[in-house]
Subunit: 403 residues, 2 copies
């Protein structure tokens, strides 16, 4: 059994967290530098954005994780350190400063940045803040929350999740913090999520689980169709739970994956609901597709459609736009077999519009959560994707992001 527990990245044994205002953001009340530190060497893995213009810190992290182990994760907000002067040197300087302060190896650090692209990272500010950052480390829910707040950009809320479960009779915990908001589209690790667990697991299996889980969660979120340069999902596993180490597929691996999915799905939905300017979370469920891949493509096209998103903002039951988005998803299906419902209100069957109660539809679509349920045909493929509505505030937030 998997149960939700408090504590975020500090829920698992062996982890401390910290989040402070270093000075990268102008507002002194906004934290901008986050650290997760492990008490022992951890199995570690990450998945990265597929954007060809991926930011330098991701390349450095990839190099540091090549052995499958790490001891800390350092993330700043306020500047993406991407396509800017000295981006590699500055990412290295961040790691060097943290390594010196903590007495660990530079190459034991997961590093990333999020914020404006193309401006030099004021690395001196981060170096100067390092003693305070490390001093603030604590193994408490408040410390996890501080770290979650420090990685926020246009997010309106810090995002955390954690679960407890059992493996070989031992209690195991897995928790995470995440940030999302703009530049989100289902195409591999399209945000920043940092996971910690005390599960004992081999790096290869940890990597496999993270890849599978990201596909089912973060890769199914779309806010605006843009895939960012910096987005990444990383995990540290301390092994302190003392379970029989997971070294291959089987029941323990399956249970661990279920727990990871629970955490990642919760965060993915929080990210979608907190999309820039969003007023509601859209969940699109597709059943009856030819395959899971097709169901994924169909559901993702629907939640990514600007026209669907704008209609949901207006609580307008314009299901034709849903069918239209399916039509350009690239997945094959027979439109004349399609059924569409908003929650349980059927609006289309056999590819044809039904007479439905417009007032009831308006009411359903006016809530904070909207469900678009699609039958694509008679196949076995099913999937869900998550998105948000397109609002005036999205335009406002992104019309002048840099100032």
């Amino acid at each position: 059994m998997i149960t939700e527990i408090p504590g975020g990245v500090c829920a698992a044994q062996g982890f401390r967290a910290s989040g402070i205002h270093a000075g990268l953001k102008k507002n002194p009340e906004k934290p901008d530098l986050a650290l997760i530190a492990a008490d022992c060497p951890c199995a570690a893995a990450a998945v990265y954005t597929q954007n060809l213009a991926a930011a330098t810190p991701l390349a450095l992290t990839r190099r540091h994780l090549s052995g499958g182990f790490a001891r800390a994760a350092l993330v700043n907000s306020g500047n993406a350190n991407a396509w800017a002067e000295d981006s590699l040197a500055n990412a290295e300087r961040c790691c060097r400063a943290l390594a010196a302060e903590m007495g660990i190896g530079e190459n034991e650090i997961i590093v990333n940045s999020t914020g404006v692209i193309g401006r030099r990272l004021p690395v001196e500010i981060i170096e100067a803040a390092m003693p305070a950052l490390v001093q603030n480390l604590a193994a408490s829910p408040a410390a996890s929350l501080a770290a979650a707040a420090a990685i926020m950009t246009t997010d309106t809320k810090p995002k955390e999740a954690a679960v407890g479960f059992e493996l070989s009779g031992k209690p195991v915990r897995l928790g995470a913090i995440a940030k999302g908001s703009g530049m989100l589209h289902p195409n591999m690790a399209t945000m920043i999520a940092l996971l910690t667990t005390d599960c004992a697991i081999e790096p290869a299996l940890l990597r496999k689980a993270l890849g599978e889980s990201a596909r089912l969660s973060y890769n199914r979120v779309s806010v605006d169709g843009d895939t960012s340069t910096n987005d990444m999902c990383a995990v540290l596993a301390s092994g302190l739970a003392g379970n029989r180490a997971i070294a291959g597929p089987g029941e323990d691996y399956g249970n661990f994956l279920d727990a990871m999915n629970r955490v990642n799905l919760k965060l993915a939905r929080l990210i979608a609901a907190d999309g820039e300017g969003a007023t509601k979370l859209i969940t699109c469920r597709v059943e009856g597709a030819n395959s899971r891949e097709d169901a994924e493509a169909l559901s993702r096209a629907v939640v990514a459609s600007a026209l669907v998103k704008a209609a949901m903002f207006g609580a307008d039951a314009n299901w034709g736009r849903v069918l239209c988005a399916m039509g350009y998803s690239g997945a094959p299906f027979d439109p004349s077999r399609v059924g569409i419902a908003f929650s349980d209100l059927k609006v289309c069957e056999g590819g044809m519009g039904l007479d439905f109660d417009e007032d009831a539809a308006k009411k359903l679509l006016s809530g904070k959560e909207v469900y678009i349920n699609i039958t694509a045909g008679g196949g076995p493929g099913e999937a869900e994707a998550y998105g948000c509505d397109l609002t005036y505030d999205y335009v406002r937030i992104n019309g002048d992001y840099r100032s």
Copy 2:
């Protein structure tokens, strides 16, 4: 030499046009039924949406054009006749009514509809309006404009273009009307355009020219990433110019294609500039890509990016979003060789941000036309794509389209 001329679809010899209010739209001042009629059988061709859920009228048009000839084009706005009750029967009834009124064959008619998806076409209204529609036919600029107005949905302006040129010593004309606005994305014929020409040309060559030209024009426009169910570009060629008929590739074909490109490019840019809620036209030019295909993919990703579009609305020179969009375009390039300029103001070189005059950039981006000029590397590929900014009004227009 190709010169712009007035007259739209009535510029070429042998064509009359008409546009009236039949009653599909509630507002009696808004025309909703358009007809282009040829005085003689015409070579004819069309390109269609690639949306899998393509509307029924397109299938009927495809069948009617299978022989390569047609005599009329009938388009209504206010209802898409897509995925609605009796859509095929109703499209056939439209053709039957027009055929009877004009004394031509049902299968000599190009037919299409645009508007809300999923509602039954009130075909009785169209049948009742047919005598008035045909009676109104005239070979005048005013008649072309009336037809252009009658195919509008959320367009704010009717769109027309026409050019004159010479082939084998004879004056030839080619004109068109088009509608665009929402649901526009570069993926084949993503709007409705109707072209007429008095050029003598074989149907196979006409089809070839239309396909090539659509790729260079309409397929490079993006308003919101949505590819519609009903969009189509069709052409009628009367042959009345008396030029030596174009029956194969060569100079005449090249000149004809140039003229068609001129008309289609003008309309494509008018469509982009009149995108739903748009306040400015964005032209993204990419040079130095590995191939034309890559340049197309890169330029299209930039004009389709919600984040770029929102930044342009805010006149914010956030070039990092341009690089980011290139990064997920699917086209390979080396980010460290990329240069980006807004008009002639360089903001990025060698993949790095330059110090630039923010005030000058703001001024450049505040105009009605914005130029994003990209050097992707040292390759021979170049292309342009056209889009518009993402504004509050896009959200307003699409939040409650059906009411």
